[in-house]
Symmetry: C2
Subunit: 323 residues, 2 copies
């Protein structure tokens, strides 16, 4: 990167970016600030993948890293029932970082962004000891915002896709293993934008959140914001396990593991058939895993007989020690 | 920070932030994404202060750091002729980082932001080896965008405030000195939002950029975007020097130093009286330092007799070696 310099890199980026052709972009890469036309309400979120904190470079390809950086941010926009539209990239890298690697990261990002018609409009580039790739996404929410405070007692609780596989993948990577289904699931999180927008369009979905820090912890955030509690039926969980009974450890892993980037949401029981047809239409498994109850802030996990399971594992917190 | 954890910090932040009371904020800190109502065109910019790259903690107070993080971003919005409205903070810090220090940084940020009626609506918090404080600002541009490509041959060139003092301050800090006027100028960059909006309102200003990487380099960016060249009269520069003749080294320092966060812009010669009255109204020195010429991409610096000075120093680039 030292060979072409900061401005060489920005010029290269501007040439390869189609921001100039988007009618909403008044001013793209290369000015003091970007300028866009976008109708309110506007969603905005930001998240970073930092080497040594969120990933190690040997875990996957540079393209996977770029794609993942897009996906984890798009997941936050989706969890509001919205659709991402514009992106900024905060790149920090050592001067010795190979331009070819950097282009592969951007290429992975761009492939995923292009598919969602998201346009890169700017960002920031600075030197750092280790690579980090931060993304800010702006999005539209034409069907309103599925904020966390909309869960009501009596709602059913749903989750898309599978829970726990990504955490197994992360554990496998940390243990030095390569190329398992679980690892691929961690490196390539799902993109749930289309189904999130379809759910928002019904106007009948309650609160929604994306599962990134562990199902139980993220459900706790939903409950806290809505002033309600929840009961999860552990046997109904969309947990990828050998057929038959789940072992306790696998279950804990699934419920506390995080990195799933699936959608967790509540909806009126009357909506269940409609949710089933949306799930089929978008070819995405949607499981009913429990319900919202009145008791504030209390998330209980029960087994098939309704007996409570007490879990010891907790979700992810950046500053607390892991168990 | 490890004692209260990521979510403890976010909850504390949400309580102290007045985003809930702003009518444009549909959803502030604590959901998957923020949601706002803001009329287009929307300006957006992002910039970071990273320990060891942009600052050392012993250089100034935590409050100054927070204020500076706001100012350098607001400068980019101002340079588009706009006004910042909403902010996101990307905080990265070690788990051992003292919460008290962090609150001082946020307090410095908030003081500056409040004065501009800028509301904190979200961001991201993650662990890192060293402190970094990234800011994304969204702003309004009701009078249009003063992009870099609007300079025309024949325009006069103006710069606000003083050039070169901040770079002297940075050099003094690096040399281990403390508490000089220049150091304070580096630690507390000016906020030129009001005068930038007043200039934009005239509808007669050409291209504008903020001077952050060195006057000559930033002028080069203006010229390149506009397909023009420029001549600067070195003796007219708003360079803080001992009375009388400028020494060559001081001049180079001023022209290549950067960190000024002043506005550099072009305007029709007919606008000079109006610019004078705007300068008086906002109590901000505005100096005419040269003019735009036809020769593309060529920035020349001449002395009082019109003789060209050849400068060896270059502006800042994050990945190239410094001289």
């Amino acid at each position: 990167l030292g060979d072409i310099g900061e401005f060489g890199w920005i010029a290269r980026l501007a040439r390869r970016t189609r921001s100039a052709s988007d009618p909403g972009v008044l001013c793209g890469i290369g000015d003091d600030a970007a300028a866009i036309r976008i109708n309110p309400p506007i969603l905005i979120t930001t998240d970073v993948l930092a080497e040594g904190v969120h990933f190690r470079r040997e875990w996957g390809t540079s393209r996977q890293l770029g794609r993942r950086a897009f996906a984890v941010n798009a997941s936050d926009i989706a969890a509001m029932g919205g659709r991402p539209a514009y992106a900024l990239i905060d790149l920090r890298a050592p001067a010795t970082f190979p331009v070819r690697e950097l282009e592969a990261i951007y290429s992975g990002f761009r492939d995923a962004a292009d598919r969602q018609r998201v346009v890169l409009i700017g960002g920031n580039t600075s030197s750092a000891r280790r690579l980090s790739f931060g993304v800010t996404l702006l999005g539209r929410a034409p069907h309103g915002c599925l904020t966390r405070d909309r869960c009501r007692a009596g709602d059913d609780l749903y989750v898309t896709g599978t829970i726990g596989l990504a955490a197994l993948g992360l554990a496998a990577l940390r243990a030095g293993r390569r190329r398992t289904v679980a690892i691929r699931r961690f490196l390539e999180p799902p993109l749930r934008v289309e189904i999130a927008c379809a759910l928002a369009r019904t106007g009948l979905v309650g609160g929604m959140i994306d599962v990134s820090d562990g199902l139980v912890q993220d459900l706790g955030h939903l409950c806290e914001a809505s002033g309600v509690g929840a009961v999860i039926d552990a046997t109904r969980g969309p947990v990828p396990a050998p057929r038959g009974r789940l072992r306790r450890r696998e279950l804990e892993h699934a419920l506390a593991g995080g990195e799933d980037y699936e959608l967790l949401f509540s909806a009126l029981p009357a909506l269940s058939r409609r949710i089933g047809s949306i799930a089929r239409r978008y070819r995405c498994n949607v499981s009913r895993i429990g319900r919202i109850v009145r008791t504030p802030r209390n998330v209980r996990v029960v087994d098939a007989d309704g007996r409570p399971l007490s879990l010891t594992a907790r979700g992810h917190d950046h500053f607390r020690k892991r168990r």
